[in-house]
Symmetry: C2
Subunit: 357 residues, 2 copies
């Protein structure tokens, strides 16, 4: 990539440097006056690992921002500003840079993030986007994943488990549209598809298939998680331990249990699955894939039982998918039990391409 193109990006990104500490992106460092606690998280997404080479550049930008915002939400914090490191393949068309910058701008606007600085390099390797995000806790503290106490409830908030995994399978061709259609009310589904088809972008269509609204929705969840920033307020108000579910519910629940030196007992039938995920399970799909797949980006937290009413009051219309899924017990590890209380056989592991955060 030539210096001229960098000037183009700089021009596109400069309006995002709304914080005085960013020094208009014209200095070698940002200088911030921070007071109180500051939450800082960093996550990189890499082509071929966290997204597919053919994924739309706009959703790559969205995912890069949202995986970090998701961490802040789980710490009960609101975003302040971000550093963006962009490693851009020489082979990508130059106009993609503009689409990328536009998508970053849209994300930063919707999450109230100021661009504080960054670094851009061209490469012959994969596209890599690394974001370091600073945030301010809404409450007096930022709950850790190590703060769970025996006797607390275990909650999920912000979305479904396994839907993004199903979207990835559909997108990769590892799950067929026929598989998705099992047990489905096809008349209703086709009516919905017909109603939505015109406004849907090409990347939410399966090649060689009629447009399917449900498949499109699942794929969109994989491409860029839907975040509910309202969950930060719940975490700040009531959470004991809290973390985001990014590597699969099972793997992340195990991390929380281990960090807190407790056991978690989770009721499978209390886990928020989407209608297509429920149908897929009832027609033979393995629940363990849904709880191990990753990319959910919802909040897993614990809270004292006496806070149940308060917590429910945050989600009067049910749109946050607030779900009390289990209990914190003495011991270690995670047990997932069925309706009869029998534990599901679980193997070790999860989605292990990441270290720590």
């Amino acid at each position: 990539m030539g210096a001229d193109e960098f000037d183009v990006i700089r021009g596109l990104f400069a309006p995002l440097a709304t914080h005085p500490g960013a020094r208009g992106l014209k200095d070698d460092a940002a200088v911030l006056e921070l007071s109180g606690a500051t939450v800082i998280t960093t996550d990189a997404i890499v082509e071929g690992v966290h997204f597919l080479p053919e994924d739309p550049i706009a959703t790559v930008a969205m995912k890069a921002v949202r995986v970090n915002v998701s961490d802040l939400i789980a710490k009960g914090a609101r975003p302040i500003g971000a550093f963006l490191t962009l490693i851009w393949p020489n082979a990508r068309p130059a106009e993609e840079l503009r689409y990328f910058a536009d998508a970053i701008a849209g994300e930063f606007e919707s999450f109230s993030i100021a661009l504080l600085g960054g670094d851009t390099t061209s490469t012959d390797g994969p596209l890599t986007v690394s974001v370091t995000l600073l945030g301010a806790p809404l409450g007096g503290r930022a709950p850790s994943r190590a703060d769970a106490k025996v006797g607390e409830d275990v909650w999920l908030a912000g979305g479904d488990i396994g839907s993004a995994w199903m979207g990835l399978q559909l997108r990769k061709g590892a799950m067929s549209l026929e598989e998705l259609k099992r047990e489905r009310d096809e008349a209703a589904a086709q009516a919905e598809s017909a109603a939505l088809e015109k406004e849907m972008p090409d990347f939410l269509r399966l090649p060689g298939q009629p447009f399917d609204a449900e498949a499109a929705w699942l794929m969109s969840l994989y491409l860029a998680p839907m975040l509910r920033t309202e969950c930060a307020g719940i975490v700040a108000a009531v959470a004991g331990a809290s973390m985001d579910v990014s590597d699969g519910l099972l793997a992340d629940a195990r991390k929380l249990a281990q960090a807190s030196n407790v056991a978690l007992r989770i009721e499978a039938n209390a886990i928020p699955f989407s209608p297509p995920a429920l149908r897929w399970m009832f027609s033979g799909g393995d629940v363990r894939k849904l709880i191990s797949g990753g990319d959910d980006y919802v909040v897993l937290f614990t809270a004292a039982p006496e806070r149940r009413e308060t917590i429910q009051s945050f989600d009067a219309d049910g749109s946050l998918r607030l779900s009390r899924i289990g209990q914190v017990l003495a011991g270690e590890g995670v047990t997932i039990v069925d309706r009869a209380g029998a534990p599901l056989p679980l193997d070790e592991g999860g989605y292990a391409h990441k270290l720590g955060r």
Copy 2:
């Protein structure tokens, strides 16, 4: 890279998480209580762009840390803590991970940096190391590159210009040992090489050539810049504008001039060149390559003329290479003049793989 290997790295990195805000690297975010101004900089280095695939993994680690520490020094700040994002090629031998972590540990110890968090991903692409470094200004402010005032002196501190570029040329085979030897006192050079040869690692030898201490020194400057943290104190005490020279003196001086809306007049004969660089120029080498090559990682700053004595007092033994190289004038752009005051013909440009910082 398997999950097991990530556990190995985590084990190696955990002792570096000495700051309580790092939460022992066991949470999804760091939570810091910061007061006063905080300087934050981020720089990534990418295999094939900022270092060569065959460069030793230890010096890659050193370079990744030091290019960021260099930014803090130029802002008159001391390091506090860092976030480390590591994108590690599947094809690299696993033991290199240990060497890498050991080298990071050594750097963090010598610069008093606590590991605050990070992210690790395996890839089929190039090795990429991104560091976000937080620092505290030693003085009341962190000088910007936009703070130069007409009438100030222009200074360099911390090392030579062009030596790292010569090291890269030698390492790439673009400059021969014969070229380096021109005008050299060969008896003295060979005595030095004989004295040092035994303690030198293989990567500081040129393939198929006798060991040469001067070439080794130049190559070592390219592989990992030598930083002088004392320069942060000078910047904090006296600097008007300040930035580090990483993309070549000419390109970076132009950035400073443009950001400050001033012109810089630099005297070529006042620029600190090393003895081999001076010999290379006197035997026909082009000074413009030395001032455009990049990777110097020294500090370029401006200061009022009445501070000259104070500034010199910081470098009584001359080891900081403090050099008053020119003046800040009204106007725009950078002029480099020879001993007779005649301007050198300069083209635009510099080392343009980076955007902004």
